[in-house]
Symmetry: C2
Subunit: 232 residues, 2 copies
């Protein structure tokens, strides 16, 4: 089921003479390519959400026929996978070379992870059901290495990584969904105050109103890291 996806397009640039703009939409758009498709898919997802990505709409934006996409891409699922991974590239920690501060490094990595996903809210709800692309694996690898160097026992390593992963995924996915629907949130809150006799505790603590998401993320992460930290 792979077969195509070779890459290495034919060079299509035989002198940018004023040829009669072939089939390519008026402005002389660059030819189709995996990268252009993915980039445009991300744009579309950013502006219209998960349900807004349509093969037809995508082709439209690219100035091509729908079926042309299928030369470069297996199917719609493939587009999702590629868009997702493309959004999760990690540029590495700031220029503090080999800091001794493993905890700071981990916090930075995970905050960046969260931030990257929140910049593209659709990614949060997509990630859990898609395959792990190279950028995701890269992040896991780096996290793994950092924890290992910090002294987390080999026997605890996988649990530690999954715990952090779970925490980040849960936090991001939740945050992204609340973000999408201020309406829902208001509705939930209203339902809640209205039913405050059924949910007195979370009503009193204003659980659903608390909107310092970043602060809560950071503080919860500290709790988790407290638990994970190698006992000396």
């Amino acid at each position: 089921m792979a077969a195509k996806r070779s890459g290495a397009r034919s060079k299509r640039s035989q002198g940018m003479s004023v040829r009669l703009q072939s089939v390519q939409e008026s402005r002389g758009e660059p030819p189709l390519s995996r990268e252009r498709i993915v980039a445009t898919a991300v744009e579309l997802l950013d502006t219209r959400g998960v349900d807004g990505l349509t093969m037809r709409r995508l082709a439209d934006r690219l100035g091509s026929g729908v079926m042309s996409l299928y030369w470069h891409v297996d199917n719609k699922e493939d587009v999702f996978d590629l868009a997702l991974d493309s959004v999760l590239e990690y540029r590495g920690p700031p220029q503090t070379v080999e800091s001794q501060d493993w905890r700071g490094e981990v916090v930075h990595m995970l905050e960046d992870w969260r931030a990257s996903m929140l910049r593209h809210p659709w990614s949060a709800s997509l990630l859990p059901r898609r395959a792990l692309g190279p950028n995701i694996l890269g992040r896991l690898e780096l996290l793994s290495k950092t924890l290992s160097k910090a002294g987390v026992a080999d026997a605890d390593l996988n649990v530690a990584i999954w715990s952090l992963w779970n925490y980040v995924m849960g936090a991001t996915v939740t945050r992204a969904s609340f973000d999408l629907s201020d309406d829902d949130r208001a509705a939930a809150q209203q339902r809640l105050t209205h039913l405050s006799e059924r949910y007195p505790t979370i009503e009193r603590s204003r659980l659903l109103l608390d909107d310092d998401w970043s602060g809560a993320f950071r503080r919860g992460l500290d709790f988790l890291l407290d638990g994970l930290a190698p006992k000396q």
Copy 2:
């Protein structure tokens, strides 16, 4: 946008005489109702996954016309919300009355939460983008009460709850997605061993092969609870 959804169907039982089975499909199915629709939607989701739920298919299984559903239900999103919440009922802890063991209670609640969602894997990927129904709020309320009684400071309470929520959501969503696609998993693993020079650490620790999910969930939860536990 509410308007209908009243409930209180007309009594339709005027003596189960052998009337000529009206339009209702041959076997004399019970009339449509919110509950029947939701129950059937859950069945459908269980057997065919998120993409398998279709208003037409749903109506088919219920032996009714598609548009009849719209009397009882706002739209497809509504069906998702209802199905999701219906699957998350909490029956409460086992019959240990008012145990002093808050930690045990919390672990039980969260393991049950995870188990409920894994019994219906679609729920995991759905929950983050849907509204919070009464059963979800109920679980949050109970969790909140337990932590509060255990001595978690008010100022830490919301962070504690969200941390646990995040952890459970992340773990469940991840587990469910791996479950869905053994293929993907095998593929990922193969890609990984093949690229072991790029991801040496996670390759060595066999991060993606570790399949004691329940154990990892429990141990990671312990880490988090260690961090959360009120310091005495």
